[in-house]
């Protein structure tokens, strides 16, 4: 057993001046390594050295180290965002977005998998029972309905206060609410559009289907954000979702749900998106929450 005052066999001791310089970090790297190698084995010199260590500085350094370790933690979303060269501070802010969390993204992927799988099964059954192999578009209805609504849900979760437990703290902070909102909305939209496009690619539909939902999704999200400057964010999201769902369901009656993402539908979505963006720009101050009813 090593006693605290045990001296290493080859120890001749260090001068007080040298130990003080080491403790203050003023020695060259060679001298530092030499002393460190020795004090690891010599309890007497460790004890002598401890008298020169600034305990407060040591505690401060330890805390700083703990903080660096705790804040440097990188989840899946953080690693992806950093890879996209998004500034570190923005990555931290986005990490608090519920719709960028793994559980949310897995839910989106799960819903799409079910809808896509069901569509594929229905199409297979119908095709095998219809002479000539022609089928309508009805099997795509659930996907057409959901494709823009999933990104909308992600964006809504990024700006509805209910989903941000630290909402009141964010209001009282000087960071721009609009910047925070837009950064979260764009990232949530992007994160949801990737699985939507993948699912559309796998679906047995027309070749342009994967790209067909980009504009409608942008339009629905922009409408929700713009409406959020007038009514409550939750009502705005529900309203925007209804604006999409109603025409889809009406077109389903005529067995042509894909019409809504055809060229006319795309043109209407583009116009609606531009109008919503204009409203958003004009009324952007309404997103600077706080000091309002």
């Amino acid at each position: 057993m090593t006693h605290i005052h045990d001296r290493a066999p080859d120890c001749t001791g260090y001068s007080e001046k040298l130990l003080a310089a080491y403790a203050a970090g003023k020695l060259s790297s060679t001298e530092t390594w030499s002393i460190e190698a020795h004090v690891m084995a010599c309890a007497t010199c460790r004890s002598d050295l401890s008298a020169h260590v600034d305990a407060e500085r040591l505690t401060r350094n330890r805390s700083a180290l703990l903080v660096r370790l705790a804040t440097g933690e990188a989840g899946l979303a953080r690693r992806l965002l950093r890879r996209c060269r998004i500034p570190d501070y923005l990555v931290t802010l986005l990490a608090a977005t519920p719709s960028l969390r793994r559980s949310w993204l897995l839910s989106v992927a799960g819903v799409l998998a079910v809808v896509t799988g069901e569509a594929a099964l229905v199409r297979y059954d119908v095709t095998s029972s219809v002479p000539g192999g022609y089928i309508g578009q009805d099997f795509l209805v659930p996907f057409v309905l959901l494709a823009p609504l999933l990104p909308l849900a992600g964006v809504a979760a990024a700006f509805i206060p209910l989903f941000d437990p630290a909402y009141r703290l964010a209001i009282a902070a000087p960071f721009s609410s609009l910047t925070l909102l837009l950064a979260r909305a764009v990232s949530a939209l992007t994160a949801a559009m990737i699985p939507v496009a993948c699912a559309a690619f796998l679906l047995p539909g027309p070749g342009w289907l994967p790209a067909a939902f980009l504009l409608p999704s942008l339009a629905v999200c922009a409408i929700a954000l713009a409406a959020g400057t007038v009514i409550s964010p939750l009502a705005a999201a529900i309203g925007a979702g209804t604006l999409w769902a109603l025409p889809v369901l009406l077109l389903t009656v005529s067995h042509l749900p894909l019409t809504i993402v055809g060229w006319r539908g795309q043109a209407i979505c583009a116009a609606a998106m531009l109008a919503a963006v204009a409203v958003l720009l004009v009324r952007r101050d309404r997103f600077e929450f706080g000091w309002m009813r």
Binding site: L66, V67, P165, F175
Partner: protein, 291 residues
Amino acid sequence: MTVSARTMAATVTVTGLSRSYGTTRALQDVDLGFDRGITGLLGPNGAGKTTLLSVLATVAEPDAGQVSVFGLNPRIKAERVAVRRRLGYLPQELGYHRHFTVAGFLDYMAILKEISDRHLRADEVTRVLTVTGLERLAGKRIRTLSGGMRQRLGIAQALLGSPDLLILDEPTAGLDPEQRLRFRELLSDLPGNPVIVLSTHQADDISAICPRVVVLLHGQVCFTGTPAELATTAAGRVWAASKRDESVYLSWRGGDGLWRNIGDQRPAGAQAVTPTVEDGYLLLSHAAGAR
């Protein structure tokens, strides 16, 4: 000094402040001034303390009245942001991102307080963790913390950036006696002599750390002054007796086994005792309730 004279000279002022929620009037024509140092807000639940603090923290807009924070008007957007740059705020119901670690949450809050440099943030987070005694918990998930620890974390985030105006809504709620003592010490030792406004139900918090106290009742200011002045309002009306007296306004048994009675008439066999801040506050509450 009168309220209006005090308001004129103060660093943070509210004048004619009113705010309603539906048909409930949370604040009614409130005039107050807050100087550098600690001001304690006392009042029962629903007295308007949280509403007043929300307005000072630029989180809620008043229906009527003026607010001035270091000469800035929060009604103007640029000035509101300027107020927020000098503000530390602990709301009564503090929400946390539960998946965050303690240091991660503070890092997040430091970004919202516009400390964008990563190294500066780490230093600032380290500082507030140290002053609130949470440095050993830096890597812990918030969901694993006790209520008292979370409250300390809330205080820590309010201290980020060394604010000039610190609004603390019931900061000692959930803290054990030792933590409360440490919190009082922490507030008293804050550098820069900020304006601190805190609300509490604990009269002993007021006596211990607040040079000034404001009593809010039914959305109105009922008292402003020092804790000693508040205690004095009950002078000659606090009595210790061996039994409860039905003729007094308030009566409760103390830790010494004696009944503490507050009333205008001396109960039979009772002795007059020196009033405390709590006595003064209870007497004011009773008077307001009787009106």
